[in-house]
């Protein structure tokens, strides 16, 4: 990619990142969002994260078939338990990386 491609991409990404953060804050200090939108948005974060995660854990990268034996999924189980227990972002990332690295050596 050329420098102008990068600039276009990052400015575009920057706008769609900044506006959802800024607009509610700037306008909501004056008027309220409709209740249905607030209720619907409450389910967006969990849905986005699960939708991002599931294919990585359950889709075989070469055949594109559904599988339950991927290393990514097996490591995700103890990583998830660690995340629930500690609620630590950095800790969970490090534990996941370490287990994945270990599993790659022994399996």
């Amino acid at each position: 990619m050329s420098p102008s491609d990068y600039l276009f991409l990052f400015v575009g990404m920057g706008l769609v990142t900044y506006l959802p953060r800024a607009l509610p804050l700037i306008y909501l200090t004056h008027k309220k969002m409709p209740q249905w939108l607030v209720d619907w948005l409450e389910y967006i974060p969990v849905a986005v994260l699960a939708a991002l995660l599931a294919p990585i854990l359950f889709i075989d990268t070469t055949s594109a078939a559904i599988t339950y034996g991927k290393l990514e999924f097996l490591v995700a189980i103890p990583t998830l338990i660690f995340a629930v227990k500690t609620r630590s972002l950095g800790g969970t990332v490090l534990v996941g990386m370490f287990l994945y690295w270990l599993a790659g050596i022994f399996l």
Partner: protein, 233 residues
């Protein structure tokens, strides 16, 4: 109204509050930088990206999509959906920033991330938090993020692909952020619905449209279940 410039004691408190975020951001940012280097992204592009787009998950997805040769518009569209969740966080913070100047809000909203939101919201709820302290937390986290991601690119050439389980950094971050979102049973159900739709979607429609498709469908299911539950009460 309190002074815009905080006392040294309250500044210290803000640094103390930002510390766990910085500790978490450092390995994640480093991992992102290493992956970016392997995808052919140079340090100045990484710096530009972390300054213009302060959004970890979206940046990881962007690096993966660049490596896969996705179109620029597909990357921007996916970034939008992935970051739509911040609308909710921004709305929740608005409660504590009533009557604050728009220039401050414009600066403050730049630094709203999952982690800074969690910290600032807890402090605002506790009632001993000022907007200047919240702003310090946001910008400290951002500085560490820029530093970590650029460092990752610079050390990336010395890190062999797959070393230290670096490919799991993004997955670990998603798992952690997902767990932070489990507030009640309906959130867990919505997450399961999104996972099932996403996996099936990939079977029939190639490309990255499953991220947008599955999250909008599942959030709508969650919303409908939420309304039904409300009526039964």
């Amino acid at each position: 109204m309190k002074s815009l410039f905080p006392s040294s004691v309250s500044t210290k408190k803000a640094f103390y509050a930002a510390w766990p975020i910085c500790l978490g951001y450092f390995p994640v940012g480093l991992a992102l930088g290493v992956l970016a280097e392997q995808a052919g992204i140079s340090w100045w592009a990484m710096a530009l990206m972390s300054i213009l787009v302060f959004a970890g998950s979206a940046q990881f997805i962007c690096v993966a999509m660049i490596a896969a040769g996705s179109s620029l518009w597909a990357i921007i569209g996916t970034t939008f959906i992935v970051n739509l969740r911040h609308v909710l966080m921004s709305s929740a913070l608005a409660v504590y920033l009533q009557g604050v100047k728009r220039t401050f809000l414009a600066l403050f909203s730049y630094g709203i991330t999952d982690e800074s939101f969690a910290v600032n919201m807890a402090r605002f709820r506790a009632g001993d938090w000022t907007r200047s302290q919240a702003l310090i937390v946001n910008h400290l986290a951002n500085s560490i993020w820029i530093f970590a991601t650029v460092s990752g690119v610079l050390v990336g050439q010395f890190v062999p692909p797959g070393a230290f389980g670096i490919d799991y950094a993004l997955i670990g971050m998603f798992i952690s952020l997902l767990v932070f979102q489990f507030h009640n049973r309906l959130h867990i159900i919505t997450g399961i619905i999104a996972a099932v739709i996403a996996v099936l979607w990939v079977q029939f429609i190639p490309g990255d449209s499953y991220i947008i498709g599955a999250s909008v469908c599942a959030a709508t299911c969650g919303y409908l279940l939420h309304n039904r539950r409300g009526k039964h009460r």
